[in-house]
Symmetry: C2
Subunit: 342 residues, 2 copies
């Protein structure tokens, strides 16, 4: 993928390269291990199929990016207790529940390079175990006892569902706007990133402006993350990450690379997009042509450029905090999210 | 359907006949209207498909039995405020979310005599709007601000999902036990009935033994309700209620009438059940034969008899309260639930 010159702020963050996530993971290791133990412990149920199916997706080697953000945000905000561990597990449960339901909705066969839960266990248990994990997250939050945390994650859960429904509504419609696309990714991705970081700030009881700054960091990081994800879907790099290239194309999903290539295309090209995305009449060679058109119109470069802009906003939000290893590691995560699109 | 002689306690309750639910509905009319307004208000979203789909199921003329129980329980327990109205709406949102997911899981074409949401809008929005309503319920509970209520409904939500998964696990298995069947219906039905009545008691801040009594009333009523439902699935009465006869049979669902007919059947009959329920090899005339075998072995009579026993327990739980029109109306609801199986 052809990348534009990075902005200076992101460039310094990106210098840490892909190791940035590893740096944060190392820094937060004890908390993360406690969180992983709690995840396994709290996904148990007398109904054996529930932990079996949940383990398949929870143990499939995800990055634990969202719970990492909760753990790191709490520490950056000066928290010294251990409530953040259980709340990070709640964030991961909600994320896992949405993944299970997404895979049913998208009819995905793969997740993180392995057979998806719906492909392996069927749609029915995937829907129901998603419901269980969602309920379990709220049980754990109730045990923690903070109404603020419950509010943040209930709000995020509603916003995620709204984003997912909107994504269905605009699917296959090349007349969708960039504003609608942004609303979709703010809902389906940024809402939980923002909630994950805000929850960390709230348990730390840091000043309101720092809580808002951590929320802004998560929100902007989430948008950057999804923009890069949507570019990656058309990139060979995707295969290295254990995903299929062109899933979004085959589903007729409206993402920024499609919207940019469509808007900048001539009449013949727009006819191609309408046939493949709206009518979902796809033939051999169509995916390759889609990628070629996106390259011709700089759709990847501009999508990643947009991600950089949001990454810069995420970095700026960290200005509210004094220098620390936590701050450097969280800045590094911004670089990590964007450097995936190399 | 051939009914056994009712026990005296249930008989007096049943004397009120089907009007019992109408009596309670009248008694609680102002609260119920406020609750219905709140349901419509709180299912709104900028994403228009959400209220469209939700309205289809919420407005489809359900009995609002669960929110009625919350409203009535609060009043029976002496509550004079209005918090119970919003919490009754939460109970209905959770119920509606589970209906949407159930219909996807069961591939149902009908719900309350109309095309089901999944048949009309597709499985994908049904899953996601279910998620939205579930999250919205928790948002409304957070606004109410009671951690006790949040705990009760988060616990119920997890138990419902466990019951539904267990139902999938034992589906098509004629070797399932009555204990497993009871665990399924305690989860998928009784848990929300028990939570609905307990929430009413909790907002009323009545003494702990009355809270437990109202929870026991809801729990036992829920089991009785589901037992009757499972008998009705094989009854012509079902059509009057706008449902198809034999849905459970076609899905190979393990319910008490099947378990009783199987356990009491001879070798040839057990072969019939294995073919139709386990192998789901169903031919013309099989449903009629299933019904005939159930009648031969008194499977309906005994299922409804079991429902009566739980109904008696529900009535006994009301002994903790002095006589009042609320108590009489709630006793009447027990009669209503059982009299559906006439």
């Amino acid at each position: 993928m052809d990348l534009p010159v990075p902005s200076s702020a992101v460039m310094s963050a990106q210098a840490a390269g892909e190791d940035a996530l590893a740096t944060l993971t190392t820094l937060v290791r004890a908390d993360l291990e406690a969180c992983n133990r709690l995840i396994v412990e709290r996904m148990q149920s007398p109904v054996a199929l529930i932990p079996q199916l949940a383990a398949h997706i929870v143990a499939a080697g995800g990055k634990r990016l969202r719970p990492l953000l909760t753990l790191a945000s709490a520490r950056l905000a000066g928290y010294r207790g251990d409530r953040h561990v259980a709340l990070a597990a709640c964030v991961e449960f909600i994320h896992t529940a949405t993944l299970l339901h997404d895979d049913v909705v998208d009819e995905s066969a793969l997740r993180r390079g392995q057979a998806s839960a719906n492909a392996l266990f069927g749609n029915k248990p995937s829907v129901l175990v998603g419901d269980f994990l969602f309920a379990r997250a709220f049980q754990v939050m109730v045990q923690d006892g903070s109404l603020d945390v419950l509010r943040i994650l209930a709000d995020a859960s509603a916003t995620i569902a709204e984003g997912e429904v909107l994504q269905l509504v605009i699917q296959n419609d090349t007349g969708s706007t960039e504003a609608q696309y942004l609303e979709v990714i703010e809902g389906k991705t940024a809402a939980l990133f923002a909630a994950a970081t805000e929850v960390g700030a709230v348990v730390a009881s840091c000043p309101p402006e720092q809580q808002q700054a951590l929320r802004a960091y998560g929100h902007n990081l989430g948008i950057a993350f999804q923009l890069v994800d949507d570019a990656l879907d058309y990139s060979a790099e995707q295969e290295r990450l254990g995903k299929t290239v062109g899933d979004d194309f085959r589903e007729g999903k409206i993402t920024l690379p499609v919207l940019l290539a469509f808007a900048r295309g001539n009449a013949e090209e727009q006819t191609f997009w309408r046939r493949t995305i709206e009518e979902r009449d796809q033939r051999e060679g169509d995916l390759a042509r889609a990628i070629a058109l996106m390259q011709k119109h700089h759709a990847f470069v501009d999508t990643v450029g947009r991600a950089r802009d949001y990454g810069d906003k995420a970095l700026a939000a960290l200005d509210r905090f004094p220098e620390s290893e936590w701050k450097r590691a969280m800045a590094g995560v911004v670089g990590f999210c964007i450097s995936r699109a190399r």
